[in-house]
Symmetry: C2
Subunit: 404 residues, 2 copies
Amino acid sequence: MNEHELQSYARLVLSVGANMQAGQDVTVNAMLEHAPLARALAEEAYAMGARYVDIWYWDPHAKRSRIRHAPNDTLGWTPPWLDARHEYTAEHRSANIGIVGDPEPDLLVEVDPTRAAIDRMPFLASRLTANMSGAVNWTIVPWPTAGWASTAFGEPDVDRLWGYLRAFLRLDQPDPVAAWNEHVERLTTRAAQMNERGFDALHYRRPGTDLTVGLMPDARWSAAEMKTHWGVTFRPNLPTEEIFTAPDRRRADGVIRSTRPLATGGTVVRDLEVSFSGGVVTDVKASTGADIVRGQLEADEGARHLGELALVDGSSPIGKSGVVFFDTLLDENATCHIAYGAGIPTALEDAAALSTEERLARGLNHSKVHTDFMVGSPELEVDGVTRDGDRIPILRDEVWQLGG
Amino acid sequence: MNEHELQSYARLVLSVGANMQAGQDVTVNAMLEHAPLARALAEEAYAMGARYVDIWYWDPHAKRSRIRHAPNDTLGWTPPWLDARHEYTAEHRSANIGIVGDPEPDLLVEVDPTRAAIDRMPFLASRLTANMSGAVNWTIVPWPTAGWASTAFGEPDVDRLWGYLRAFLRLDQPDPVAAWNEHVERLTTRAAQMNERGFDALHYRRPGTDLTVGLMPDARWSAAEMKTHWGVTFRPNLPTEEIFTAPDRRRADGVIRSTRPLATGGTVVRDLEVSFSGGVVTDVKASTGADIVRGQLEADEGARHLGELALVDGSSPIGKSGVVFFDTLLDENATCHIAYGAGIPTALEDAAALSTEERLARGLNHSKVHTDFMVGSPELEVDGVTRDGDRIPILRDEVWQLGG
């Protein structure tokens, strides 16, 4: 990547992604290997009028040492000054940028998974709360690292990975900003179609999967964009190919199988199969990493309920690439996915005015975890179930079925 | 450096340097290029019983972008969560470790020095206050980086730099810990000699230098070791070759010239010459970087007063190497130095019980800055002035003159 591409990417992240406003503080969460992008973001953010740019570099090697050696009853502790940092971003309406692209996805493979599941660093509840508060305009974006390229391709070919990312990010388009605006419009239209239909539930069906998930009567589908309660529209993920909502946390019955590996907390979870009854996870199976998922499900009561449903059709350039990237940001935009844990609050128009108890009473889940896993494939049939019990096809062979 | 050397170094830092106690939190302040040592410290600290190890990586590139672009009236702002982090270390008696070895000493050469002087990051007053509080056992240690090696040698020869550091750190000794204990004993004896004499002032004299600095009647000289108010002895610098005290902030008259370059805040200050009258800096000259020093002296009222006097004789292996390392930790241990800004509180036995006002009334300086610069050379004559006005030679031709 040359200097010009890096600068273009940083500007795209700040304008199309976070939609940073002049005078805002900017928080960047990165790993050491993301420094080129973090530094470019700082330079461009200040040039665009940022007040202060705070880069925080997370080092998973310290986490590994902690899980190896620290007393068990200390592993759940998290530094209060990091909570203070995240609370600051909500109080002062910062722009938050997260960089992903794990340089060492297998770093925690050999540690005790039970102990690993207790240590929640660096995914603090306070960071999730800030991003979900509606006070912060935020975005999560990828950066190609050698370790990530090795995981995806079997060799540390960063240029090849960047070649894919550049296309997914539409940086290869003559006018990336215009290309993004057009793409977002298409996704937004699709979400509006779902909102017009007002389905009561979704039904997922393929070999090994038969799951019905209830929808809240007043829940909205969203796409690509979110809006702070003070009026700034931002794109929380670059790239993005999904439309999504929060389901009714009390209504999920059946079983669903993941269709792609899930990288979480340094461990790759493969062949995940999750069973639900009455909205609650009743069983978890996986060929690798099941304990990491089980550990996350123990985090709190809400962890065992669903927080997100997302639909992606076969036009996704990520899906079309045929590559499994072992990174949620990309893989979740390759195909349909669902998440256990925190419900997306923007699913309820008035969520910002509701207490946690009121949200729960409406069916919106609450948890300190939020983990997406991929369930889409050409075989997956997704139907909308109307309040009368009719079934309307939404996805068949990865083609969007609802008309305008 | 091999894995074994790295591990030995980390253990030396934790045991001989910080003297970390089992159950303590450990704070590591590093730059990205220091990651190998930061990670080794995390691993060894946890193995030695640390409760939580918090690594904070500072990125000076973000600082450069800030100084280039951010509004002038925002440059003095510092993140409150970092103050919270430093305050936590004092409240909870953490062990703090700072890693030095600037990977890009000339990074800020082309920015506006007046604006650079307003931005105090990352040297927050709260960090200095925590370390000076007596609540924290702390140490500052070097790590060889390519950029530092280039500055010292004109080429990025990290192995050569590590060769020097290994010797200065006594890691080439059969038993580095025993070697350190012996060395510290020698320095401690020298400090005791100074305390027995109870000089009223020191007089520095060489071509271009003629400065008399008053000493507080009840001030102590220290060497190599400090002690927390809860009883843990630690070595605040590795390596260390100095004995030091805080002078009377009200008594400094004359002029003193630096004898080695001073690297501070990304700029190299050369040929510094500082004039004093009645304890206050009245003039600053330098062939490069004078504005950085002038900017620091504007930080607060105490910045213009002296906070430290340190004596180093010619037996220092750093001085004997003949290399200028362009890093205060090494260069200050090559030869005699003085510091403007915060007074070393351990100079007063009861400092922990005194308010800032009481310290000032005793003559102990208070400031948010503390900058050492080197004044020693074979030509430098240092005399102790007794309360009767007699002059006792302390250093001649870099040889220690006081007997046992």
